[in-house]
Subunit: 111 residues, 2 copies
């Protein structure tokens, strides 16, 4: 499980991959393997949530990092970039780096 | 707080708005207002998490719904579409409908 919250101050990376439907599962498998073997073991990694679009054309990865520096250090890691090269052979992608500004509904008045 | 998990079987909508940096805050305010006044009160709405990109050019909304039918019913709601028209005057957007396939790290063996 991953928790979206304003208070944790994580850096959020949202990566939308566009892929041929016939290769969607192959790309998901590759991204999960990259995370379990490399990316997920790097300092500052918090979580990665993998999403498959119903129409087969996209994969969305919602990832949380402690800081932008930790994320950039991972990108310079040769084993991580080797996985990224393999992903780019299957798909194009659009990456954004975000902070959480609000989560609704607010849960007010818990004990 | 919102929870990302495979087990809850929510439908996930990820909406990436592209906006002029000078209008990013205006669009965030509009989207939050749409959610507190209309969208968030519709049957089937679970959560919406609003994210601001560090470079000012994007807003990402990560939303969870009970079912695709509930989400589509909201889109046909006139007050919701009025907010969407206002948002489209400020930004372009790309919407995807997803299911969660994996969340890492897996939390294994909790007490």
């Amino acid at each position: 499980m991953a928790l979206i919250s304003k208070e944790n101050n994580f850096v959020t990376l949202i990566n939308i991959f566009t892929v041929e439907p016939a290769r969607q599962q192959q790309l998901i498998d590759l991204l999960i393997r990259a995370t379990t073997t490399t990316v997920g073991n790097v300092p500052g990694f918090i979580s990665a949530s993998f999403h498959r679009s119903f129409d087969g054309t996209r994969i969305a990865v919602y990832a949380q990092w402690s800081s932008e520096e930790d994320y950039q250090a991972m990108r310079r890691n040769p084993s991580a970039s080797s996985y990224m090269d393999q992903a780019l052979a299957l798909a194009t992608f659009e990456l954004g780096m975000y902070e959480v500004v609000e989560v609704l509904p607010k849960l007010i008045g818990s004990a």
